[in-house]
């Protein structure tokens, strides 16, 4: 009996351990902070995405999507991570409907763990011209809380004594000095600092869970380091995946460039896009001219995670009406406190060239006008022959070493063509130069039986006709870093109003233990309760949140 009991106990114990065993702690986590929680359509939203990568350098890029309650994507973007922080901004279009919107952020690698691994942040947006704002409260109210106007929180389980203001009550347009000091037990931290008007709403946030249950291969979605991963899939007419199919990728450029890959058993393929490809137009096509379909997979999450709870703790309607007025006034003075700082990409950007040596160059403009490429090849390309065959064309290039003819790879403005017929209509005026490499070339294992590299006089890639499916897309560029430009209020004449619900925003402020960090800014003509909100991670991965309130009144102190 004892033996059976022991056996049962052991099996139960092992079962529990097995359950625990599939719990995977992801190597990286992110959290999002925004400059405010409540916006008026027409505002800029500044965000700071903090990456906690547990000392491992895993990803260099983080993705952000913003969706409305009815799952309509209003913004997508990719941001470069620097010092574990990715920051930027996006504009809320004037036409947005009032309601709660959700920011979702993740790295490509985090997609392995599903939505549970994604960081989310909910914000409230009111349309600038929406006069009936009662609906916002009625529609989105989940929970109404009565919260004291002055409240304080600090580092988790730590009293807040580390954020000091020179005063607690300020008048309009008065300088404010803020001192931030880390507690002794935290050596370093990277935080975002926002000084904004306290909105009578609160969003119970889901930052990230500490652990996720996952059984998936954690390298299905690869980490993106110094470049993007382009993923796609090939299907035949019956929507069955096509395995072991060669796929080509080339970018529009003045010189031939090519990458190739093969589909796996699921018909999937991947390419690495280094910074050379950022902002470039690329084409992805299969080898041959069959009718299979190419599907490029989007990395952007489409939807809403969880519900969109909002706690209201005051008169939201009057608050929004006041914000609408503030934005209207600032707009009428045409003042935008926003500046973008395009980042100089220092990462390696290299072109996947097919040749790096000189070939035989011909410029049709140096000769008499020739009406099409058939004539151009006949008159100017000694090694290339085009024949008309079965109502089509066949072009072959002589290999000067092997002394035989083969079908070469033809590039047009850097893009690999599927057939010579695509450029037959182009005359001398449309073609700037033709470079011929009349011998066998190798690109890795790929045997290229000669190259024709053609550049057009003006962009003709849009006029190319394709018989087999080809995917043309623009590789996105990481979002530029942007800063909130606080105006020099003391220099603005009194008669010009400056109503700013946001007084200060810093997406990445490094803090060192024992050292004071001082921030200086001015109050504006806005009165009411303001808050300093500091969010981030310590160097050992602890989450940090400081909050400090102060008041701005029209009285002089």
């Amino acid at each position: 009996m004892n033996k059976k009991l022991y056996s049962f106990g052991l099996m139960t114990f092992l079962g529990v351990m097995q359950l625990l065993a599939v719990t995977i702690t992801p190597l990286e986590k992110v959290s999002i902070a925004t400059d405010r929680d409540v916006y008026i359509a027409g505002d800029w939203v500044y965000f700071s995405i903090k990456l906690q990568d547990q000392q491992n350098h895993i990803s260099d890029f983080v993705y952000l999507t913003v969706s409305s309650k009815n799952q309509q994507q209003i913004f997508t973007g990719c941001v470069k991570i620097n010092n574990n922080t990715a920051s930027g901004s996006f504009y809320l279009a004037d036409t947005l409907t009032s309601g709660i919107y959700q920011l979702v952020s993740y790295t490509n690698h985090m997609r392995n763990y599903g939505q549970e691994a994604f960081a989310i942040k909910n914000i409230l947006v009111a349309n600038r011209f929406d006069s009936d704002l009662k609906g916002i409260a009625a529609e989105t109210l989940v929970e109404t809380l009565i919260v004291d106007t002055l409240f304080q929180t600090g580092i988790v389980n730590q009293p807040l004594q580390q954020v000091k203001l020179n005063k607690e009550f300020f008048s309009q347009r008065e300088p404010v000095k803020l001192d931030i000091r880390l507690p002794e037990e935290i050596s370093k931290a990277m935080v975002s600092v926002s000084v904004r008007k306290v909105a009578p709403v609160n969003f119970p946030e889901t930052r990230f869970n500490q652990e996720y249950t996952s059984t998936v291969n954690s390298c299905y979605y690869l980490p993106e380091r110094s470049g993007f991963i382009l993923e796609g899939q090939i299907f035949d007419r019956n929507h069955t995946s096509v395995a072991q199919k060669m796929v080509f990728l080339s970018g529009k450029d003045s010189i031939a460039n090519l990458q190739y890959s093969f589909t796996n058993n699921e018909g999937e393929f991947r390419f690495f896009l280094n910074p050379y490809y950022f902002g470039k137009k690329i084409t992805v096509r299969m080898d041959g001219e069959d009718k299979s379909a190419i599907e490029i997979k989007s990395k952007y999450f489409n939807g809403i995670i969880g519900t969109l709870p909002m706690q209201i703790n005051g008169d939201i309607e009057s608050y929004l009406q006041m914000d609408q007025k503030y934005l209207g006034i600032q707009r009428s003075y045409n003042v935008i406190y926003h500046q973008e700082q395009p980042e100089i990409i220092t990462a390696k950007g290299w072109r996947s060239e097919v040749y790096s040596r000189e070939g035989l160059m011909v410029k049709p403009s140096d000769y008499l006008y020739l009406p099409d490429f058939l004539e151009i090849s006949r008159e100017l390309l000694p090694y290339y022959k085009i024949r008309e065959k079965d109502n089509d064309f066949e072009g072959t290039l002589m290999d000067i070493n092997q002394k035989d003819f083969a079908v070469p790879f033809i590039f047009f403005d850097g893009i690999l063509l599927e057939h010579i017929r695509q450029i037959i209509p182009f005359d001398s005026k449309k073609i700037k130069s033709i470079l011929t490499i009349p011998n066998v070339r190798f690109l890795g294992e790929l045997n290229i039986r000669g190259i024709l590299d053609i550049t057009s006089a003006s962009d003709q890639t849009e006029n190319l006709q394709w018989r087999s499916p080809v995917s043309m897309l623009n590789v996105e560029r990481p979002l530029p870093n942007s800063v909130y430009m606080m105006p020099e209020i003391d220099k603005i004449p009194r008669q010009i109003p400056v109503y700013l619900p946001l007084l200060y925003w810093n997406s990445a402020l490094p803090l060192d233990s024992g050292k004071n960090s001082t921030i200086a800014f001015y109050t504006s003509d806005c009165t009411g309760t303001f808050e300093v909100l500091i969010k981030g991670f310590s160097s050992d991965g602890k989450e940090i949140e400081f909050r400090k309130l102060f008041k701005v009144t029209s009285k002089k102190f």
């Binding site: 980490p223 996947s352 690109l443």
Partner: protein, 241 residues
């Protein structure tokens, strides 16, 4: 009964770490990433010379060796099977799947390293050389013997020293290896020399003659016979100059 319980305890001890380990994030994507991020090597088809048509070899090392290639786009392509043709100053790559020989584009390569069978790594970098009677310098692969402010390179070139006629009146070129040593100075300028003689080396730096001689006396370097001696001298020059 005690033995039976011990058996279960033993099983628990054996299985527990296995199960716990199963739950750790052990998969590293680095290998997959490296493979995906690695640029493709580019070059022309290479037709090797027929062994019977030559006396001696065009290659610095006759065997295929493992090596890393430093590309001009600053990427490094690792663990490739390559050979260095010291007659044409080109790197030949043996493709792993199709076993094709590819003459890599010289413009595409900044240097390469060969790991010989004895475990010694020989690294080659592009250096400018004024060779023979030419007025302009050419860029060639020089073997890095010592790298510092003043670096020492060896340009190992296979040359045709003559020909041999066999019984069927077939001409066969005779290949032989020559070496030109080069100091590469901080300003990128190179100074070439062929002999090991102390006097010849010192005359390359006439202003510092006394200091160099003093240093050589100090380190007791009187012998000038091997490349190892040249490396010692280069180290000494770096201390003096």
């Amino acid at each position: 009964m005690i033995m039976c319980n011990l058996k279960y305890v033993f099983l628990s001890i054996v299985f527990l770490p296995v199960i716990i380990l199963q739950g750790q994030e052990t998969t590293s994507c680095d290998a997959v990433l490296d493979q995906l991020n690695e640029p493709d090597l580019i070059g022309d088809f290479y037709q090797p010379p027929l062994p019977m048509s030559t006396v001696g070899s065009q290659f610095l090392y006759e065997n295929w060796l493992d090596g890393d290639i430093f590309l001009s786009n600053k990427n490094i392509v690792k663990k490739k099977i390559i050979k260095y043709n010291a007659y044409h100053d080109i790197v030949i790559w043996l493709t792993p799947l199709n076993h094709q020989q590819v003459k890599l584009d010289n413009d595409y390569i900044d240097g390469f390293c060969l790991n010989d069978k004895s475990g010694v790594t020989h690294c080659f970098r592009k250096i400018p050389v004024k060779y023979d009677m030419s007025f302009d310098s050419i860029t060639v692969f020089g073997e890095v013997l010592h790298e510092s402010r003043i670096s020492l390179f060896a340009y190992r070139k296979v040359v045709i020293t003559g020909y041999e006629v066999d019984l069927t009146d077939y001409y066969r070129d005779i290949y032989d290896l020559t070496t030109l040593y080069l100091f590469k100075l901080e300003n990128g300028k190179t100074i070439g020399f062929r002999s090991y003689r102390k006097r010849d080396i010192i005359t390359l730096f006439p202003d510092k003659k006394e200091m160099i001689l003093a240093k050589l006396r100090e380190i007791k370097q009187h012998r000038f016979r091997t490349e190892a001696d040249l490396i010692k001298i280069t180290k000494a020059l770096n201390e003096v100059l």
